[in-house]
């Protein structure tokens, strides 16, 4: 069974939805950030698949850009979480409801 582009897209969709569901279900902000990383990875797979299909290294460049974005997001997100934890002693997003209404 040869691998088709559709298979790559399907795999990426499954992984992406896994991350999505995790983001909705989990209350731990750190795990939610990790779910975002998973979703980004799914996107990376799509990029790589299309890069191969078009024989164009441009897709790889965007994956690298995604790496950078993921790294930046992780750094900032975690810094914010640390800051929140210092003030509120929790990273449970359901407790962080001060923006309600």
């Amino acid at each position: 069974m040869t691998v088709t582009l559709n298979h790559c897209l399907g795999l990426a969709a499954v992984i992406f939805v896994t991350g999505m569901a995790g983001f909705i279900v989990r209350r731990n902000a750190i795990v939610m950030l990790m779910c975002i990383e998973l979703m980004l990875s799914a996107v990376n797979i799509v990029f790589a698949a299309f890069a191969r299909q078009h024989a164009d290294a441009g897709g790889h460049v965007f994956v690298l850009m995604n790496f950078a974005v993921a790294a930046a997001e992780a750094a900032i997100g975690l810094a914010i979480l640390v800051e929140i934890y210092r003030r509120r002693r929790t990273v449970d997003v359901d407790e962080l409801k001060t923006l309600m209404e």
């Binding site: 359901d94 962080l96 409801k97 309600m100 209404e101």
Partner: protein
């Protein structure tokens, strides 16, 4: 006349300073207000207007140095509107007509500024007063020097605003504030017509413009006047509605007598000498439209004549010294408007100028009297002031003789010119001449009545007031003297041909009114060329009139009007100073109903009140306020829209629950919906 075959326009950036200096003065006085000492405020205001006057003279001399057909200075400051073919500039232009007006406005304005230094010296609002005065001069100069009709309109509205501000200057008294409002509102009615006329003019003219031509520029409009022919009557009448408001003609004259609530220098400057002549100036300025519209001209003539009679009759019975002068002003404005209606624009403007001199003089004289009488304005308690106020008396007398048309004072020439045109023009005739003649006699009569009641006999005021009577300070008497000289000699520049003169004034204005004196259509077609030719033609026409135009008849009519004026003067003197048989008969009449009608000004105010104002109030109260405002706007729109927002908000508030995961969930729902949309779209 931007078109190539016409003359080049001389750029003269002096003009903007004539206009802007008073604005600068107003800004200084207005911003610093009480922080500025009185002396400084007065110096700034008078200096600004004085400089403006000097610059006007310089500009006038430069204009006069040009050949007669090319007398036009322009100062385009900046583009104002520019959209497609629509182009209007902020700019000023000086031609013989606006030069006359500029000199009169700044000259008389300067004298009245100086007079105000004395008159207002004890007033708390000294700085504010001069701010408004300077602002008025600025607006009036914009009106007079504006290069296009929109600039004129800016000035037109500006003087209306200043008039309002100055009428209700002592706003602590309700009557003054009401008078200001009345003037403003009545003028708005006229402005409405003016604006509609302006729009109609613009719409008609716009398709015919060549690239680069300013839409409302007077020269351009004049150049293309022939395309206006089909709508000239409508435009002329609409613009005239504006003129009836500003120049106090029937039916909108009612605000001017009430405007006397303002300080007397204001009455002199705005409500006699300058602003109220704006309508006459506008008609003269738009002469190229009016000559295309005989019907409009006829209406203008009739309204002017009717106003002259109506106001003159009312003036014979009023007891307030300023009201007499106010009605006299309305009557004289009727004269000017009538002259314009007859196509005798030069005669109308000539009367504008002489009238500015002697009416300003009379108002300032009455101000001097009121000043001396501690604010009293009722002539019935005056009398015998001639000895106490010698300068005021003699200058006032000069003004009276001038307005009565006594030879060789200023009024004689301008009034006689108008009378002659009323007799000899195509639109005039014996009947019109008789009406104007009657008004001349009435004018002489009521002016003499005023003089006698005020200056003659014994003083009827209370002991205390009588004790305070004193001649006014130099700052007030000096303008009186200057204006008296002008009232005596100001008419000599228009010394008519039939008395051996050559009427420089008419020749000076001839290029502007070339179309009027000549075949209108032909002149309009030839544009600028026609200006030069027209000037020559007007010369010819004037000489023509002198040669073949019944010199004897003209002399005879002049003599008749002179005699009639003197008769009016003597009658006024007889009736109000001595008990004679004639006087008794007249007095007998005075008790009757004609007298009461006149005293109550023909009940025009009451009629307006009943016909327009009260129904308007009732309509506003029941329908507009209770129905539209409270019901629809407040109830339905304001509260209703707030209610809708509140309901939607209370629903949306449920979504804003602060749970990040809920937001993510909604986001996912959105993604699902979006994917459905994409797949449906294919």
């Amino acid at each position: 006349m931007h078109s190539p075959e016409t003359q080049t326009v001389v750029q003269e950036s002096l003009l903007r300073w004539i206009v802007l200096l008073p604005l600068l003065g107003a800004a200084i006085n207005g911003l610093l207000n009480r922080r500025l000492p009185r002396a400084a405020a007065g110096a700034v205001a008078c200096g600004a207007v004085g400089l403006s006057f000097v610059l006007s003279v310089v500009a006038f001399l430069r204009l006069a140095a040009l050949p007669a057909g090319e007398r036009l200075l322009a100062d385009i400051v900046a583009p104002w509107l520019g959209y497609g073919p629509l182009r209007v500039d902020i700019g000023f232009a000086l031609d013989p007509l606006s030069a006359v007006m500029a000199l009169v406005v700044t000259g008389v304005g300067l004298l009245i500024h100086i007079y105000s230094l004395g008159y207002m010296s004890h007033d708390k609002g000294f700085q504010r007063f001069f701010t408004y005065l300077n602002l008025f001069i600025f607006s009036m100069m914009t009106l007079v020097l504006g290069e296009n009709l929109l600039m004129l309109f800016v000035g037109w509205e500006g003087v209306g605003l200043c008039s309002y501000l100055l009428i209700s200057f002592w706003f602590n008294e309700e009557a003054n504030a009401a008078a200001g409002k009345k003037a403003f509102i009545v003028n708005r009615v006229g402005d409405f017509g003016f604006l509609i006329g302006t729009f109609l003019l613009g719409v008609t003219l716009l398709p015919h413009l060549e690239p680069g031509e300013g839409l409302f520029s007077f020269r351009v409009m004049q150049h293309h006047a022939h395309v206006l022919a089909p709508v000239a009557t409508v435009i002329g009448l609409l613009l005239f509605v504006g003129a009836t408001g500003k120049s106090a003609q029937i039916p909108l004259y009612i605000w001017l007598p009430d405007a006397m609530a303002g300080p007397t220098p204001v009455s002199a400057l705005i409500h006699a000498a300058t602003m109220v002549t704006a309508g006459v100036y506008m008609i003269a300025r738009m002469n190229f439209v009016y000559v295309l519209a005989p019907t409009a001209m006829e209406v203008v003539t009739i309204v002017g004549a009717a106003t002259a009679v109506l106001a003159a009759t009312i003036a014979t019975t009023q007891n307030d010294i300023k009201r007499v002068l106010a009605y006299s002003t309305v009557s004289q404005l009727g004269y000017m408007v009538m002259a314009c209606g007859l196509g005798a624009f030069a005669a109308g403007i000539f009367h504008v100028m002489t009238h500015a001199f002697f009416k300003a003089l009379l108002f300032l004289g009455s101000g001097s009297v009121i000043h001396a009488m501690s604010g009293e304005q009722d002539m019935r308690v005056m009398g015998g002031l001639a000895k106490k106020l010698p300068i005021t008396f003699w200058t006032f007398l000069a003004g009276t003789f001038a307005i009565a048309g006594v030879f060789p004072l200023a009024g004689f020439f301008s009034k006689d010119e108008i009378l002659w045109k009323a007799f000899s023009s195509d639109g005039g005739g014996v009947a019109l001449w008789l009406v104007a003649f009657l008004v001349a006699g009435l004018t002489a009569f009521y002016m003499m009545r005023l003089v006698v009641l005020t200056f003659h006999g014994t003083n009827r005021a209370s002991q205390e007031v009588r004790h305070h009577i004193h001649e006014s300070p130099l700052s007030m008497t000096l303008p009186l003297v200057v204006l008296a000289v002008l009232s005596v000699a100001g008419g000599w520049i228009g010394w008519p041909a039939f008395l051996g003169g050559s009427n420089h004034f008419e020749h000076w204005l001839a290029p502007v009114f070339a179309d009027g004196g000549h075949g209108a259509a032909a002149a309009a077609h030839h544009g600028g060329e026609a200006l030069a030719h027209g000037a020559a033609a007007a010369h010819g026409a004037a000489d023509h009139a002198g040669d073949h135009g019944h010199v004897a008849l003209e002399r005879g009519l002049a003599a008749a009007s002179l005699a009639w004026g003197l008769l009016g003067l003597s009658l006024g003197y007889l009736v109000y100073s001595r008990r004679t048989k004639v006087a008794d008969t007249m007095r007998g009449l005075a008790g009757g109903w004609p007298y009461r009608i006149l005293l109550n000004k023909y009940y025009v105010d009451e009629a307006y009140d009943g016909a327009i104002i009260r129904p308007g109030f009732r309509f506003s109260r029941t329908v507009l306020w209770k129905g539209v405002d409270a019901g629809v706007i407040d109830g339905l729109l304001v509260n209703g829209s707030a209610l809708v927002v509140a309901v939607i908000g209370s629903l949306l508030r449920l979504l804003q629950n602060g749970l990040v995961r809920f937001y993510a969930w909604s986001f996912t729902v959105g993604v699902a919906v979006f994917v459905v949309y994409l797949s449906l779209k294919g």
